[in-house]
């Protein structure tokens, strides 16, 4: 027999009230049983975090619970007073925040963080404070010395472990994890998730894991709530969701997952690459996937990027520390029309390589050549000669567009700088670019400012800007990692078609091995600035040889493993 810990009935949470209210959570009802590990999954803006904050009694204006009940322990969290809420936090609902990196007070030692909690609730005898704190950090696999550190002295993963330990010290019945690993590096993410899963089993608290990543949720949770536009559209066991999803939205989310190690890897819009390679078919040849750009003759003057023994050393980040060898003896060639993936965890040096190839940074030694252009020796005034042909797509579409400029201005600048088109001709070119990246009606999008666009639309503008000079090479630095899964395939298809239909070569930088498998032929795995493995993408991912590649592959959450 199980006991109900939390019962949410017909809950509405609005932002603001009255006329300009937006409904973030609508008619949500569900229950959590004691000891359950439940996942709450949804894309950005689905209201999942708002719901999590409401359950933890942390809703703050402008978020207001306007209807329904959140029964915990027989009492309604939504109608408790501040002090009642505060008191119930011991042995009640605890929460681990998304940005665990910033969840700790930078000027207080970890020990004092624990003392503050013990002092607030008085549930631990003062004499045992330190021993208890040491015991709890041990549970999240940290040594007791960590208690004497300040948050700034700990790595991101350690800080998130500390916040989990702090939440645990409240002896909660229910723990809400709000995207607990999103801000962390892939490998760290994996390790922290393992800790959470083991901890939950051992301590037997009820857990609600909020995540945008269906993979992570399916892998850890027994039951999954799928949230879409403020409503829970499906509430089923992990197995049912995987085998027999009922809701269309759940099906859509699920369709965007695949195991990059699989024999056959297919996503909406993408047939298996290996199968295509055999017949020489392009992505857009399949009847179901119309091409995003119209085919054209390949340029005849295309040049390769040749990187030889590239080294980049940065000065020590702080006095008394060692210098950083971000890139350490890397050589490769990107042939015209080829696609090459550069993968690794954060800090592996992959983004530094992008900066060196595009002359944003100067190499310490070694060379980058684009045709007969020596990129490492370019002076500022000569950048145009490189950027005419080598362009970049940035990771964060929110930061890559100047918030004050219209789409038209943003696109007109490279057209004016790299082509002879002026006036109405330039404008026609801008509209043509918008059409290529699939932003129509073009006139309407041209007039918009970045904040009026969605993340996916912004990324398309960023790609359109990169295409304005009609480049031969595109360096794509994690182009889809900030986008919701449902939007990723579209952007990837666009990049793939540019290569297949126009012959634009692509250096695809990512930590996401699945997307690398979809859009590249060759792959290089980077660890601490060195290439540890390289070869055919499918081959390397299916039969990795280097230990580090194996680790990266193991860190990928994969729903299919549940079955």
């Amino acid at each position: 027999m199980t006991e109900t810990v939390l019962e949410v009935t017909d809950l509405d949470v609005d932002y603001n009230t009255g006329e300009d209210a937006t409904h973030a959570v609508r008619h949500v009802s569900f229950t959590l049983e004691q000891g359950e590990f439940v996942g709450l999954v949804g894309e950005s803006g689905s209201g999942k975090s708002t719901l999590g904050f409401a359950i933890a009694g942390l809703s703050k204006p402008p978020a207001v619970v306007t209807r329904g009940r959140i029964l915990f322990d027989g009492r309604d969290i939504a109608s408790m007073s501040r002090e009642e809420l505060r008191e119930q936090r011991h042995g009640g609902v605890a929460m681990v925040l998304q940005s665990g990196m910033n969840a700790l007070n930078p000027v207080r030692s970890i020990r004092n963080h624990f003392r503050d909690i013990f002092e607030a609730h008085g549930h631990v005898d003062k004499r045992h404070w330190d021993a208890r704190a040491a015991e709890i950090v041990g549970k999240v696999e940290l040594p007791p010395q960590v208690l004497d550190r300040y948050p700034g002295e700990l790595s991101g993963g350690m800080r998130q472990r500390v916040s989990i330990a702090l939440a645990l010290s409240l002896e909660p019945q229910l723990m809400v994890f709000d995207e607990p690993t999103t801000a962390l590096d892939v490998l760290v993410q994996h390790a922290v998730m393992n800790t959470i899963i083991e901890l939950q089993k051992r301590e037997n608290f009820t857990a609600l894991l909020i995540s945008h990543d269906l993979g992570i949720v399916l892998e850890s949770a027994q039951r999954v709530l799928v949230m879409h536009e403020g409503e829970i559209v499906e509430d089923a066991t992990a197995r049912q969701i995987l085998k027999k999803p009922k809701d269309d939205y759940t099906k859509m989310l699920l369709s965007h997952y695949a195991d990059p190690r699989g024999e056959v890897v297919e996503l909406p819009g993408f047939e298996d690459r290996a199968a295509r390679a055999k017949t020489g078919a392009k992505r857009a040849d399949a009847a179901a996937h119309p091409p995003t750009v119209s085919p054209r003759e390949r340029r005849t003057d295309q040049k390769a990027i040749v990187v030889e023994d590239l080294v980049k050393v940065y000065p020590p980040p702080r006095r008394g520390e060692r210098e950083v060898r971000a890139v350490d003896g890397v050589s490769f060639t990107l042939e015209p029309g080829a696609s090459l993936a550069l993968v690794g965890a954060s800090g592996s040096g992959k983004s530094t390589i992008a900066k060196l190839i595009t002359a944003v940074e100067k190499p310490t030694s070694g060379s980058v050549k684009f045709g007969d252009l020596d990129v490492g020796k370019l002076r500022r005034g000569q950048f145009r000669s490189l950027h005419r042909d080598v362009q970049m797509v940035f990771q964060d579409p929110y930061s890559a567009l100047n918030p004050l400029h219209t789409v038209e201005y943003t696109l007109t600048r490279p057209v004016a700088n790299f082509t002879k088109l002026r006036g109405q001709d330039a404008r026609r070119r801008v509209l043509e670019l918008l059409d290529i990246v699939g932003l129509s009606p073009v006139e309407e999008f041209a007039a918009k400012l970045p904040h009026q666009l969605s993340g996916g639309q912004r990324q398309r503008v960023v790609i359109a800007r990169a295409l304005a000079s009609d480049p031969q090479v595109i360096i794509a630095d994690e182009p889809v990692s900030m986008l919701d899964v449902s939007l990723r395939a579209g952007v990837l298809a666009l990049l793939e078609d540019l290569r297949e239909q126009w012959g634009v070569s692509m250096l695809y930088i990512t930590h996401d091995l699945l997307s690398a498998r979809l859009v590249t032929d060759n792959i290089m795995v980077l660890n601490h600035g060195k290439v540890v493995e390289r070869g055919d993408t499918a081959e390397v991912l299916r039969h990795p040889k280097d230990e580090y590649t194996v680790k990266l592959l193991d860190a990928i959450p994969n729903p299919r493993k549940v079955a």
Binding site: N16, P61, P62, T358, V360, R380, F383, R384, H387, R388, Q391, M392, F394, Q395, D396, S399, A400, L401, N402, P403, L404, H405, T406, E408, Y409, T410, L411, T412, R413, P414, A416, N417, F418, R422, G423, Q424, A426, R427, V430, V462, R465, A466, A468, S469
Partner: protein
């Protein structure tokens, strides 16, 4: 603020020009309640300054009235020890304060923008040296430095005061703008502009600068406020040209003619109140400016 040469193609794809920036900034400031009060007060003073010849009942140094007289119907605020009309002097005096505030504010903001932008944008622009010099100007106490310089340049008048105020007043803004430039510089859209083939000059003035409007406007009002206060302080000490009629010199003469002993309160009260009101109006306007850049400070609608 920045006068840019518009050397671009025809009417398409204009970046927000200076005028539209001005309109946007003004309407943002106006939408803040406190700032609106500030703008109204400032507007009144500006009207007084511009139309002083029409508004003031007498000339600025027109004398020959009763000396040290209390308020009467002919002289609403009484007369000075030299037999001048206090109300007229007050109205004429607004010209000096507003002129000094405007000119010194604009000049020190321009220097702050130029130093802050180039220091923040160009890497290794003698970084440590500039840092040291700016910090030196920040810690050297401004008013004592002004007093010393003013003492050497005795009789330099308003131009001297403006020079001194600018010399001691640009460093703060330069530092704030530099750190903002550095933070904007690391944003991808600045790198993207390099990829779009933009020249450094254009990147600085078209990509970075417009994103710092609120800081620059705020810096201007801050600099203008301290310029007005410093000008009044120097003149009160008798370090300016004491023949010019300004609120500072009015207080200087009031103190020297023992207005405290004779109990002629309007002579002391009125000029000081004007200085305080003008300075307050600029401070209030800055509340609205903060709102442009710091959403957390925006007044919540209803909570």
């Amino acid at each position: 603020m920045t006068t840019m040469t518009a050397t671009q193609q025809p009417a398409i794809a204009k970046a927000p020009g200076p005028w539209s920036v001005f309109v946007r900034v003004s309407s943002t400031i106006w939408s803040n309640g406190k700032a609106r009060i500030g703008l109204i007060i400032l507007g009144l003073f500006v009207v007084f300054a511009i139309f002083a010849p029409l508004i003031a009942p007498y000339g600025a140094s027109q004398n020959g009235f009763d000396r040290s007289a209390d308020p009467t119907a002919a002289h609403w605020l009484g007369t000075t020890a030299a037999g001048e009309d206090v109300l007229s002097q007050l109205i004429w005096g607004s010209q000096v304060s507003i002129f000094v505030g405007l000119v010194a504010g604009v000049l020190s903001t321009i220097i702050a923008v130029l130093v802050g932008l180039s220091w923040g944008y160009a890497r290794g622009f003698g970084g440590d040296v500039v840092n040291f010099i700016v910090n030196l100007f920040l810690v050297i106490p401004g008013l004592p430095l002004m007093i010393v310089i003013a003492a050497y340049l005795s009789g330099g008048g308003i131009a001297m005061i403006i020079t001194v105020v600018v010399i001691t007043g640009w460093a703060w803004g330069a530092r704030v703008l530099r750190s903002q430039t550095q933070s904007l510089r690391s944003r991808d859209f600045v790198t993207a502009a390099v990829f779009s083939g933009e020249r450094p000059f254009r990147i600085v003035f078209r990509e970075i600068l417009p994103n710092m409007t609120s800081l620059i406007v705020g810096n201007f009002f801050g600099a203008a406020t301290s310029a007005i206060l410093a000008e009044a302080g120097l003149e009160y000490l008798g370090l300016g040209d004491s023949s010019v009629v300004s609120w500072g010199t009015m207080l200087f003469w009031a103190q020297n003619s023992n207005a405290l002993l004779t109990g002629q309160w309007s002579l002391l009260f009125a000029p000081g109140l004007c200085i305080a009101l003008l300075a307050t109006s600029l401070t209030l306007i800055n509340f609205g400016v903060d709102g442009i850049s710091n959403p957390r400070l925006r007044e919540g609608k209803q909570r």
